[in-house]
């Protein structure tokens, strides 16, 4: 049962991400990316990590992609405005991406032999357990991430205030 759901969601995320890459219209790309996020959130639910799933939706689909869509709508991109790439660039990009693919395949091929920790708690994704482990085992990285976000927020406010001399 859960294998079927996993396969459907996996297929959906692959198809949507491919559509996201291959669509010409940037707004359509954004919408396919949102659908990809949804299928990934479904995977989180399958892994019993509802908290992660809903936070993933709130942060990525609900906030970041909205801003993407904002920018795209205001820029009004279309095929005429797209800069023409010369074929030399295309060749270079193809070689670079191909090498990345080889690297990724090589890395993942080795990764299968890695031993996954067997005794990991299946309920670690629930909000309570996740909170406990964030505030006990991982408190330093958690706080550092918090400071990082705070710095980014302060920076954004400062950038928005144009008349302030830095």
């Amino acid at each position: 049962m859960s294998l079927t759901v996993f396969l459907i969601l996996g297929l959906a995320s692959v198809i949507f991400s491919l559509l996201m890459v291959f669509t010409k219209n940037p707004v359509h790309s954004v919408i396919f990316l949102i659908l990809t996020f949804f299928s990934i959130a479904g995977q989180y639910v399958l892994l019993n990590a509802q908290f992660l799933a809903v936070v993933h939706i709130i942060v990525y689909a609900g906030a970041i992609m909205v801003l993407f869509l904002f920018v795209l709508m205001l820029l009004n991109l279309n095929t005429d405005a797209e800069p023409r790439q010369s074929s030399r660039w295309k060749l270079g990009a193809a070689i670079a991406a191909g090498m990345l693919l080889v690297t990724l395949v090589g890395a993942l091929k080795g990764g299968i032999q890695l031993n996954m920790p067997e005794e990991s708690n299946p309920y670690v994704g629930l909000a309570q357990n996740l909170g406990k482990s964030l505030f006990t085992d991982f408190v330093v990285p958690f706080e550092i991430a918090g400071i990082l976000f705070l710095a980014a927020m302060v920076g954004a406010v400062l950038l928005a205030k144009r008349d302030v001399k830095i």
Binding site: V27, I58, G62, L69, A127
Partner: protein, 344 residues
């Protein structure tokens, strides 16, 4: 194996019927909210209001629906065809999804069966609601953009930036409640507020903040920037007509209904009322109390709409960013101190 399967089928059937009933109730309430809105407006402006269709005008929503369906369905030439069609559907879908985690009552005893009056008790219920509210922006943005009309685009940008801004204060004011109750599940929140032990007594500031944000999230006056006729014609749905427009308007009423139900659940005890056991009448008392509270808040929403004039856009943004967010952070700190003092 077969017993398990039978149990599964019974479970799926029970939940499907519950979803269907809830869906019908949501649509009916939303339809009659349009009627109620006009009646309340008439009452406040000392008029009679709609009273021609059926007894006391009670068939007015039906007449409105027929009107929406039979109007010409106009599609602008330059519109992004599929997105233009998708947007109202997406908006409606998101509006209908949120009611799944709201506990309408405890248990209903029907033909010897105990039916839980909540579609699903997610352990992250309140985040689920926030998540779907944050998705509501897409219907508006895509609809406004795909119409290919500058007024629609401006309306969409205004409405969505308003929703994004107020979502922050909304989430922050809910965090205080989560800190107080120690749970994200709406069911547990309702259970904890038995009798008159409602969260409003501990979270008065949080309630005011949440209520204001809910008004803004539902695009209701005094925050109905999206439909600021004098500046923006009709806002993001300027180019929509027929039932596509109907979907947008209807979904706003559904949003209002759900927002009021969430307010009732989170701050006003949900299905609890002092001296009333939600299990009375075979469990029907819970939903009755819950709906009474919800309808009261819908009435307050309408009352505000017909009393207060619309804010200016910069005032709206000032209120959101410079008043509500700092206040909700303050509320969070106070709640944290209170929890530490009295419970720690």
């Amino acid at each position: 194996m077969s017993i398990l399967l039978l149990y599964d089928i019974a479970f799926i059937l029970e939940k499907s019927i519950l979803v269907l009933v809830l869906f019908v109730i949501t649509l009916t309430v939303a339809a009659y909210a349009t009627f109620g809105e006009r009646k309340v407006a008439a009452f406040i402006q000392d008029r009679v209001g709609p009273n021609r269709a059926g007894p006391l005008g009670l068939l007015q929503p039906l007449a409105d629906g027929v009107k929406f369906f039979t109007k010409e369905d106009f599609m602008p030439n330059a519109a992004e065809r599929w997105l233009y069609i998708l947007a109202p559907g997406a908006f409606m879908f998101v509006a209908c999804m949120t009611s799944a985690v709201i506990p309408w009552g405890t248990e209903l005893t029907l033909f010897g069966l105990n039916v839980q009056l909540q579609v699903t008790d997610l352990n992250i219920g309140i985040l689920y609601i926030l998540g779907f509210t944050s998705l509501g922006v897409y219907g508006i943005m895509i609809g406004g953009w795909s119409s290919n009309n500058k007024y629609s685009l401006y309306g969409a940008i205004r409405a969505s930036s308003q929703m994004i801004s107020y979502e922050l204060a909304m989430g922050l004011s809910l965090i205080a409640v989560v800190m107080l109750t120690g749970t994200l599940s709406l069911k547990e929140m309702a259970i904890q507020q038995a009798g008159i032990n409602w969260n409003i007594w501990y979270q008065p500031l949080g309630f005011i903040l949440f209520f204001t944000c809910a008004l803004a999230e539902c695009n209701r006056a005094p925050f109905d920037m999206a439909e600021c006729e004098t500046e923006l014609i009709g806002g993001y749905h300027t180019e929509y007509s027929s039932m596509k427009l109907g979907f947008f308007l209807f979904a706003e009423y559904i949003n209002m209904f759900i927002a009021c139900a969430v307010i009732a659940t989170v701050y006003f005890g949900g299905y609890n009322f002092p001296g009333v056991d939600p299990g009375w009448l075979g469990g029907l008392m819970g939903p009755i109390v819950m709906f009474a509270k919800t309808f009261f808040f819908i009435f307050v929403f309408m009352w505000i709409r017909w009393t207060l004039p619309r804010f200016r856009y910069d005032q709206l943004m000032h209120l959101g960013w410079k008043a509500l967010i700092p206040l909700s952070i303050l509320n969070m700190l106070l709640t944290g101190a209170g929890v530490l003092l009295f419970e720690g």
